[in-house]
């Protein structure tokens, strides 16, 4: 894992003491709320419905056991005993007191964490494939590059007041698990003809009120040039991005209004001027950063594990878990294990302090103390021996963390919604809980197969409803919660935006409506192997519309 150097440690410590002073002055009334609000937002502190909310950055979703224990400690001491993992691979605490935030940030700094750039019109936490460095199908680990981007973008004076927030995602695999086409900039690590590393660069993706799929800006930018190229994009955006209307200020609107070809020309012009300058990425610097992300030394093992196979044969629950929650590792005899934070009927992304500690202990004992947060709001143990899966499963089950549903219909993404969020129009979490209960029976989930439901409580789309196979958007209709269903969204390399299927539903009606869609799919699919998305793409919306609203 990346470790802070002297510079990182100093600037985070300085920032904590700066903010502590600002909070003190605010509480004494020496500065007004209007003066203080931008300062607190720069440090991840929002005011939500019930309380302040602190959003802590988890760079590219990578955490150590030590850091996870500290998050648990913060949840217990300063919050109500739990934390909420988000679709940005971050964690949010829903109940901290403003007067405690400096202490929380100070405790975070001790484990090399902070809340800088988790809000505001700056470059936000750079996200990455949660199986990075472990997945069998990747060209290379994307995290060293995510880290380089993090260092470049942290407190970058030129990019601290962009027209709007800016999100970058990096994947190392052709199969996109980081939704890079739904980000302002998406990067895919590729190998050139000579084996050298480079990046496919996508720009202008995003969700919110105007969802758009990113366009390819460059097919291959060599490693040495990537910082200069990304810098050139940011410069063009900073100059030409709209500042007259916050709803049209994201780079996707610039791409849409300017056209990808003209934008590419602008970026290339800028790139030519700065290429090879201070932003050139020297091979030795890349090597230095890469060294932090060296995979752990794994014992050579055979491809199959007799221990796991025997345990699976004996325990159907473990068998199901192994079928659902393991992802193929690049080293044989190993796996990446998803710890689902989607208990049936529970709250997507929530973990109690005790659960966080259990995960930290399990990671320490069996998985090299490494944990990932996925944008699907789950946790991952990226490097685990297949032989250890039965023991890990038992330990997870003891902590209430052995739900076998990764990628299944109950693995629902949901934003905090009207239960917490000041921007929301409708609730998301109770809907997620009810849907999870409706489809929670193991046989039912197996029958349905891979199907994602994603729920947002407002048009800002934090719950990724635009790219849910089934997306649900909550709106306020004359004071009542009302839900629109869209179908066919998808976040991966064949990204698509879901289409609204027809008139919306009441909070009571929407659960049945989703089940109607699911039942229609099961009836219509060519075979049990045809996934919901494949069936929808083959059939189009008509049969689903008919099932929902009649002919």
């Amino acid at each position: 894992m990346y470790r802070y150097d002297e510079f990182d440690a100093t600037f985070v410590r300085q920032r904590v003491s700066q903010f502590a002073d600002q909070v003190e002055r605010r509480l004494k009334g020496e500065i007004t709320e209007d003066e203080f609000k931008p300062l607190r937002l720069m440090n991840g502190v929002y005011l939500q419905l019930h309380a302040y909310m602190l959003r802590v950055a988890i760079p590219y979703g990578t955490l150590s056991s030590t850091q996870m224990r500290r998050l648990a400690h913060i949840a217990r001491v300063y919050d109500k005993g739990y934390g909420h993992f988000t679709t940005r691979q971050n964690i949010q605490f829903n109940w901290p007191a403003l007067k405690d935030v400096p202490s929380i940030l100070s405790e975070l700094a001790e484990v090399e964490m902070h809340a800088i750039q988790t809000s505001g019109n700056c470059i936000r936490n750079v996200t990455a494939d949660h199986f990075a460095g472990a997945a069998f199908d990747e060209a290379d680990d994307p995290r060293p590059y995510a880290e380089i981007l993090r260092q470049w973008s942290s407190l970058h004076p030129e990019f601290s007041f962009l027209p709007r927030k800016f999100k970058i995602a990096v994947t190392g695999a052709g199969h996109d698990r980081a939704a890079i086409r739904l980000h302002d900039i998406g990067l895919e690590v590729k190998r050139g003809k000579d084996g050298g590393i480079g990046f496919a660069v996508y720009v202008g993706g995003g969700q919110g009120r105007t969802p758009m799929i990113a366009r390819e800006l460059a097919a291959f930018v060599p490693e040495a040039d990537i910082l200069a190229y990304v810098d050139a994009i940011l410069r063009v955006y900073n100059l030409f991005g709209r500042r007259d209307n916050k709803y049209k200020a994201r780079i996707k609107i610039l791409v849409h209004e300017t056209g990808i070809d003209e934008l590419r020309q602008l970026v290339e012009d800028e790139f030519r001027q700065i290429r090879g300058g201070v932003l050139g990425l020297p091979a030795e610097e890349v090597a230095r950063i890469r060294a932090y992300f060296e995979p752990p030394t794994l014992t050579t093992r055979s491809g199959t594990s007799a221990t796991l196979e025997a345990a699976r044969a004996e325990n159907p629950a473990l068998d199901r878990f192994a079928r659902q929650n393991l992802h193929r590792h690049k080293a044989q005899g190993h796996t990446s294990l998803t710890i689902s934070l989607k208990p049936i009927g529970g709250i997507p992304g929530d973990a109690s302090a005790e659960q966080m500690e259990a995960v930290a202990d399990i990671a320490e004992r069996w998985a090299f103390s490494e944990i990932r947060v996925s944008h699907e709001q789950n946790l991952i143990l990226p490097h685990l021996a297949l032989d250890d899966v039965p023991a890990v499963y038992e330990a997870l089950a003891a902590a209430g963390l052995a739900t076998a549903n990764a990628g299944a219909i109950t693995d629902i993404i949901a934003c905090p919604g009207l239960d917490y969020c000041a921007l929301a129009n409708a609730r998301s979490i109770p809907l997620a809980s009810q849907l999870s209960e409706r489809f929670g029976a193991p046989e039912r989930q197996d029958e349905i197969g891979p199907l994602s439901i994603k729920i947002s409580g407002c048009i800002n789309a934090c719950g990724h409803h635009h790219v849910g196979h089934i997306g649900i958007l909550g709106v306020d209709r004359k004071g009542e919660e009302f839900y629109q269903i869209s179908l066919g969204g998808n976040p991966d390399e064949s990204a698509s935006i879901g289409q609204i299927i027809g008139p919306g539903f009441s909070a009571e009606g929407v659960i049945d409506a989703v089940e109607t869609v699911v039942d229609a799919y099961i009836k219509l699919r060519a075979s049990p192997d045809e996934t919901f998305l494949a069936a929808y793409r083959r059939l189009g919306e008509a049969p689903f519309k008919e099932a929902l609203y009649g002919a």
Partner: protein
């Protein structure tokens, strides 16, 4: 691009921001309300709510002028004059750095219990509606 209802909202929000800029920031929603609604009749009982600055907790303005967590202890206002005075005093508490995000909200009162009209405010008053087994019971 197709017209969406959200555009109306963005236009209104934008207009308010422009107005705020033009007046050098010396304007907020409550003052606008005071200016716009001071002479209009109160359509239904209202109470004043805010978040306490130091911890962010949801609070309500009692008749004594203090801010309390118990919504049933809020002063229920049903005349325009009283509302104007209460809102002015509440803004004073914003200036005094006691509370932030002051809002006047519609409520109904039955059996001595105050219940906000809007779901959002009911959730603020009575807490998240989510259920979870792992959440510890807190005071």
């Amino acid at each position: 691009m197709k017209w969406q209802w959200q555009d109306v909202f963005s236009a209104t929000a934008l207009l308010f921001e422009k107005l705020k800029q033009a007046l050098g920031g010396a304007i907020d929603y409550v003052s606008v309300r005071i200016a716009c609604l001071a002479d209009t009749p109160v359509p239904m009982p209202e109470i004043l709510t805010a978040n306490r600055l130091s911890d962010g907790d949801v609070v309500y303005r009692a008749a004594s002028g203090t801010w309390v967590a118990d919504i049933d202890a809020a002063e229920v206002i049903d005349d325009a004059e009283r509302r104007t005075a209460a809102e002015a005093a509440a803004l004073g508490d914003v200036s005094a750095s006691l509370v932030v995000e002051v809002a006047t909200i519609a409520v109904s009162v039955a059996d001595g219990h105050v219940v906000p009209k809007r779901l959002r405010e009911r959730i603020r008053a009575f807490g998240p509606t989510v259920k979870s087994d792992h959440r510890p019971v807190t005071a």
